[in-house]
C-alpha cells in the first residue's frame, strides 16, 4: 500500500488549495476501499445483476444466455408443482426451526448467565455445536436417524414403540432436518445471546433486588427489554440462515422423499447444476433474493420499533 501523506509535497505558496490537494482524503479513502469495492463488484453486484438477467433467458449447458423468453421462466415456476412444493418446504422449515431454535438458545443463555462454579464448562458445551460443520453434523444425525441401528429407533423400540423411518417418510423428513438444523444453530445463537446478557448493566438488577422483585418480573422487565437488540439480531440471522439451508438437505435427504425437503437453495442447486436449467434456476434465485430482502426490510421496519436500545 502506497502511503498518501508521505507522497505529498509541502505546498509553500499562498494560493488556495489545489483540487489535487483538496481531493487527498477521497483519494486515500478510495485506496483503502478499493479491495472491498472491487470484490463486491465482481462477486456480488455483477452476479446479482447477471442472475436477474439470466432469469429472462433460456440458456445452454455452459450457462450462456440463448433465447430471450421474458417472464416465461417465472410463469413456468408459478405453475410448476415442484416449485410450489419447494416454497412450502421452505416456509415450513423456517417456521419449524427459527422460533424453536431461538427459544432454546435463549433458555440456555439465561441458564448459564447465573454465576455459579463450573459454569464455564456448561457454556463451552452449549457453544460446541458452533464448531461442528454442517457436513459433520448432518453425517452424525444421519446415523442417529438410521432406520435400524440409529439411536432414536433403538430407544423407541427398546420401550416397545414402532421404529420411525425418519428420513424416508415424507411426513417426518422435514421435521428430522429441522431438528438437526436447530441443534446445529444452538451454538451460535447461544453464544451471541449470552454475550448480550453479559452486556446488561449489573446495577439494574441490584436495584430490582432491593425492591424484592421476582425472577420472572426481572426477566420480563429488565432482561428481555435490555436483550431485545441482541434477540432481534439473532432472529434476523436465523431467518436468513434458514432460507439459505443447503448442506443438511444434501447429506440427509437430497430433497426427498417426494420433494418434501426440497428447500429453495437445494432446488436452485438441482435446477442449475444437475438439470442445467440456468434460466429457471436464476428465476428461483431472484425469488430467494426477494424473500430475504422482504424479511430484512420487515424486520427493520417492525422490529426496530419494539426493540429497546440502551
Amino acid at each position: 500500500m502506497k502511503d498518501s501523506l508521505e507522497m505529498e509535497q509541502p505546498i509553500l505558496t499562498d494560493q488556495p488549495l489545489s483540487w489535487w490537494k483538496k481531493s487527498l482524503n477521497i483519494r486515500t479513502a478510495c485506496l483503502y476501499l478499493l479491495p472491498s469495492f472491487f470484490l463486491f463488484a465482481v462477486f456480488l453486484f455483477y452476479p446479482m445483476a447477471k442472475t436477474v438477467y439470466l432469469s429472462f433467458f433460456l440458456t445452454d449447458q455452459q450457462g450462456i444466455a440463448n433465447v430471450f423468453v421474458g417472464l416465461e421462466n417465472y410463469q413456468y415456476l408459478l405453475q410448476s408443482e415442484s416449485f410450489r412444493k419447494s416454497i412450502k418446504a421452505t416456509i415450513l422449515f423456517v417456521l419449524y426451526t427459527v422460533p424453536t431454535g431461538v427459544m432454546i438458545a435463549l433458555a440456555l443463555a439465561l441458564l448459564t448467565n447465573e454465576k455459579v462454579k463450573g459454569i464455564g464448562i456448561f457454556r463451552t458445551m452449549y457453544a460446541s455445536t458452533m464448531g461442528v460443520s454442517v457436513a459433520a453434523s448432518s453425517v452424525v444425525w444421519l446415523f442417529l436417524f438410521h432406520p435400524s441401528i440409529g439411536f432414536f429407533n433403538k430407544i423407541i423400540t427398546a420401550i416397545g414403540g414402532e421404529s420411525v423411518s425418519w428420513l424416508l417418510d415424507p411426513s417426518w423428513a422435514l421435521v428430522s432436518i429441522s431438528v438437526t438444523t436447530i441443534w446445529m444453530n444452538i451454538g451460535f445463537s447461544f453464544l451471541i445471546l449470552l454475550g448480550g446478557l453479559q452486556n446488561i448493566d449489573e446495577q439494574l438488577y441490584e436495584s430490582a433486588k432491593i425492591d424484592g422483585a421476582s425472577y420472572l418480573y426481572k426477566l420480563r422487565r429488565i432482561t428481555i427489554p435490555m436483550l431485545s437488540p441482541t434477540l432481534f439480531f439473532v432472529l434476523t440471522v436465523s431467518l436468513i440462515n434458514a432460507f439459505q439451508t443447503f448442506g443438511q438437505v444434501d447429506i440427509l435427504t437430497q430433497g426427498g422423499p417426494s420433494e418434501s425437503t426440497n428447500v429453495i437453495v437445494y432446488s436452485i442447486y438441482r435446477e442449475a447444476f444437475v438439470n442445467y436449467q440456468f434460466g429457471t434456476a436464476s428465476a428461483q434465485s431472484v425469488f430467494l433474493f426477494l424473500c430475504i430482502l422482504i424479511v430484512t426490510i420487515m424486520q427493520f421496519k417492525f422490529g426496530e420499533k419494539k426493540v429497546h436500545y440502551q
Partner: protein, 271 residues
C-alpha cells in the same frame, strides 16, 4: 436451605441440557472407536479401545490432504477478510470524505444479497477464469465481507479522535497510524473476526462442492460427503472417525476463542 435446593436444581438442569446438547458429538466420538459388530449390537461404549477406524478413514480417502487444503483455504480467507475489512473500516472511521455515509450504506446493503442467489453467475465466472480446482477460486470471492467491516468499524470508532489528530500533526502517515496504532488497539475485534471467518470457511460446503471436481483442492467437508456415500450402511465407525477428524480443529478453535466470540460478535450485533 432454599438457596441450596435452588443450586442443586440449577446444576441438575444444566447437566441434563448440556448432556442432550453435547450428546451427538459424544456419540460420534464413541462410535468412532467401535467395530462393526459392536455397532450392530447397539452398545454405547466400546469394549476395547481401538483406532482402526481412523486408520481406515485415512486410507480410504486422502483425508490428510483434504485437511491440509481446508487449513490453507480457511487461513487464506481469514487473512484476506481481516486485511480487506480492516482497510475499509479504517476509511469509514478515520478518513472524512464526501458521500461516506452513502457508501457505508451501500456496504451494509450487501448483507441483504444472499450469497446463494449469486452462485450461478459466480460459478460461471470462476469457470471462465479457469479457477475450478484452484485455491483462488475457493478463497478470493469471500475476501470482502460487510459484516466484518461493520464489526471492525464499531471498534475503530472507540479510538479517541485526538489520537488521530495528534498523529497527523506529528506527521505520522495514515498507513503507519493504521498499522501501528489502530490494529494493535483493536486486537480483540480482529481476533474475534479472525476466529469467526476461520470457522465459517472451514465449514463451507456448497461452494467447495461446486468448484472442485477432483481431489487437488477438495476440502474435508466434501470428504465427509464422499465418505458418507462410500460407506453407507456398512462401516459407520469409519465415517464417524472421519467426522471426529474434521470437527477437532474447529472445536479446539472454538474452545480457545469462545470468550472473544461471545463478547465480540454480540458487540457487532448491537451498535
Amino acid at each position: 436451605m432454599n438457596g441450596l435446593l435452588k443450586k442443586i436444581a440449577l446444576y441438575l438442569v444444566l447437566t441434563i441440557t448440556a448432556f442432550v446438547v453435547f450428546f451427538p458429538i459424544l456419540y460420534a466420538f464413541l462410535i468412532s472407536f467401535m467395530t462393526g459388530g459392536e455397532l450392530l449390537q447397539g452398545n454405547l461404549f466400546s469394549k476395547s479401545f481401538h483406532l482402526e477406524n481412523y486408520q481406515k478413514a485415512f486410507e480410504r480417502l486422502p483425508l490428510a490432504h483434504y485437511l491440509m487444503n481446508s487449513f490453507i483455504i480457511s487461513l487464506s480467507v481469514m487473512i484476506g477478510q481481516l486485511v480487506v475489512s480492516s482497510m475499509a473500516a479504517y476509511a469509514f472511521v478515520f478518513i472524512p470524505f464526501k458521500g461516506r455515509d452513502a457508501i457505508f450504506f451501500l456496504f451494509i446493503s450487501t448483507m441483504m444479497i444472499p450469497w446463494e442467489a449469486t452462485m450461478i453467475p459466480n460459478f460461471i465466472t470462476i469457470q471462465q477464469l479457469d479457477w475450478i480446482n484452484t485455491y483462488q477460486g475457493l478463497t478470493i470471492p469471500f475476501f470482502a465481507m460487510a459484516f466484518g467491516t461493520f464489526l471492525l468499524r464499531q471498534h475503530f470508532k472507540t479510538i479517541p479522535k485526538e489520537l488521530d489528530e495528534a498523529a497527523q500533526v506529528a506527521g505520522i502517515s495514515r498507513f503507519k497510524f493504521f498499522v501501528k496504532i489502530v490494529v494493535p488497539y483493536c486486537k480483540n475485534s480482529l481476533i474475534t473476526l479472525g476466529a469467526y471467518s476461520f470457522l465459517t470457511t472451514w465449514n463451507m460446503y456448497l461452494w467447495p462442492l461446486l468448484v472442485t471436481n477432483n481431489d487437488s483442492v477438495r476440502t474435508v467437508q466434501i470428504g465427509l460427503k464422499q465418505l458418507r456415500t462410500q460407506e453407507l450402511a456398512t462401516d459407520w465407525g469409519v465415517v464417524m472417525a472421519g467426522v471426529v477428524v474434521v470437527i477437532i480443529p474447529t472445536l479446539v478453535l472454538l474452545f480457545i476463542g469462545q470468550k472473544y466470540l461471545q463478547k465480540g460478535l454480540a458487540q457487532g450485533a448491537l451498535k
